[in-house]
């Protein structure tokens, strides 16, 4: 469902530029990325998957709330 930076939600009064970057702008990397997935045909968990967008290799998956709370 998008880049894992979505977990770092800005403060409400962070300003237009910060919110535009959060909502719309993407690094859109060709290579290793961390992005958010929802296991929607299964347990409905949100997970952060570290994978490669060129080879489709998946390296690691963690529960999204654990990744968020670790920061």
């Amino acid at each position: 469902m998008g880049h894992a930076s979505m977990l770092n939600r800005p403060e409400q009064d962070a300003g237009k530029d910060v919110w535009n970057a959060y909502l719309h702008e993407r690094a859109n990397i060709a290579g290793d990325v961390e992005d958010l997935w929802c296991h929607d045909m299964g347990c409905a968990a949100w997970i952060v998957v570290r994978r490669n967008t060129i080879s489709h290799t998946i390296y690691e998956a963690k529960l999204a709330n654990e990744v968020r709370d670790a920061d």
């Binding site: 469902m1 998008g2 880049h3 237009k16 530029d17 535009n20 970057a21 909502l23 719309h24 702008e25 993407r26 690094a27 859109n28 990397i29 060709a30 990325v33 992005d35 997935w37 967008t53 060129i54 080879s55 489709h56």
Partner: protein
């Protein structure tokens, strides 16, 4: 050489020895007025219209691979102008009018075939939505006919009308829509641009963009540095990487869209048919292959190939709609890389860097836009102001929230289109 029936006769009688290459392979010059990064359909048509409409011919089109080897060679070749929202509507209408004259314009047979597109609907609510869309198309000056079930049956008798999941209520018929030979579109624009003096430089990867004091000065390439007064970024599918060389972060995510083709069959599907409820559309190429596709895989990818769940979904939808295709064997499948913008509409705009222009975000509609995008981009680059039909394709619409063109009405956010 101009192509004509007379040339075919002449060359046929003289052993076909007089045919020449369609374009030159020049060495890059040290400086150009305009450098276009990306020798796909959009880049080539921009070069062509810069030369034809604006008399600017000191242009280089830099392509890291070969002409027609990117997304212009990896699509399903549908040409249409059935958009509804202001911004999209006038742009695709203009593009379709260019399609109707392009073969004469560049003296090349692109096999543009206006065989008509039928968008099926399956409920009263969907009929209302398509009636409204059809009226918008007519008021834009394009054509649309609302067909009832019997009207669709006359044209497409092979559909399963009684399917229990989504019974067919009718369809919106767009007679001027159709398809074209994708490679020939790239070749035609390349040849037309080359004949007007444009340098098409293949196997030339741009590795850096030179910017001094907020003004673009040129590019670094695998074949050396080239200076330029203006640079156009036209690398949909890889836009984020190209823009990053200029320090820009774009509102783009790259996604894979799969397409499929069957073995060659005798003519059986005369139109383009779309089945939105099942995420499936199909047409038959002039070689006889059934060309069909569905929706995105819905995860960011540059792999140019998709995964099996979406392949299964598309084939199930096809079998639901027209069970006869179950007898055809599949020849191959592939994936194209889509520049997905948050609202599903493209971007043709200046950047904050003087002399640097951006053309990206074509989502899954890049092919039909090839002439219109090139025409409007050429106007923007030549005159430094937006061209009327593309004036709403602004880069800043996501930041301001003004002028969003969310054709599907699902919201201006990534992953919704």
């Amino acid at each position: 050489m101009r192509f004509s029936a007379w040339q075919i006769i002449k060359q046929g009688l003289t052993g076909n020895k007089g045919w020449t290459p369609h374009w030159r392979s020049p060495e890059p010059k040290p400086e150009y007025d305009v450098i276009i990064i990306g020798g796909g359909g959009h880049g080539l048509s921009t070069a062509f219209y810069l030369a034809k409409e604006h008399g600017i011919t000191n242009i280089a089109v830099l392509e890291k691979g070969y002409i027609g080897g990117g997304n212009v060679g990896r699509n399903t070749t549908i040409v249409r102008a059935n958009y509804m929202l202001p911004g999209n509507s006038e742009f695709y209408s203009h593009s379709l009018r260019l399609w109707e004259n392009m073969e004469t314009d560049f003296n090349f047979n692109a096999m543009h075939s206006q065989r008509g597109i039928i968008n099926l609907f399956h409920s009263d609510g969907q009929r209302d939505a398509y009636a409204r869309r059809g009226n918008q198309m007519i008021s834009q000056g394009d054509d649309a006919v609302l067909l009832d079930r019997e009207g669709v049956r006359q044209m497409l008798p092979y559909l399963d009308f009684e399917q229990t999941r989504f019974p067919i209520f009718g369809g919106l018929y767009h007679p001027r829509g159709g398809s074209a030979r994708h490679d020939a579109v790239a070749w035609g624009y390349a040849r037309g641009a080359d004949m007007r003096g444009v340098d098409i430089i293949q196997n030339c990867e741009v590795t850096g963009i030179d910017i001094e004091g907020g003004i673009v000065k040129g590019v670094q390439t695998s074949r050396g540095a080239i200076r330029a007064k203006k640079v156009a970024l036209m690398t949909a599918g890889r836009s984020s990487q190209t823009a990053a060389m200029a320090g820009l972060t774009l509102p783009i995510e790259s996604h894979v869209l799969q397409a499929f083709v069957s073995e060659g069959l005798k003519p059986c599907i005369d139109h383009v048919v779309t089945y939105g409820m099942g995420h499936f559309y199909i047409s038959q190429s002039d070689k006889g292959g059934l060309v069909f596709g569905g929706d995105l895989d819905f995860y960011a990818s540059y792999a140019a190939r998709g995964n099996l769940p979406m392949a299964e979904h598309v084939l199930e939808a096809g079998m639901t709609l027209m069970p006869m295709i179950g007898k055809a064997r599949m020849l191959r499948s592939w994936g194209g890389i889509m520049d997905m913008s948050p609202d599903g509409s493209p971007i043709i705009d200046k950047t904050d860097i003087s002399g640097l222009y951006l053309n990206c975000g074509w989502c899954y509609g890049g092919f039909k836009a090839v002439p219109g995008s090139g025409f409007s981009m050429a106007h923007l680059v030549a005159k430094d102001e937006p061209h009327g039909p593309a004036a709403k394709f602004r880069l800043d619409r996501f930041a301001t929230g003004l002028g969003l063109m969310d054709e599907e009405g699902t919201g201006a956010q990534h992953n919704l289109h």
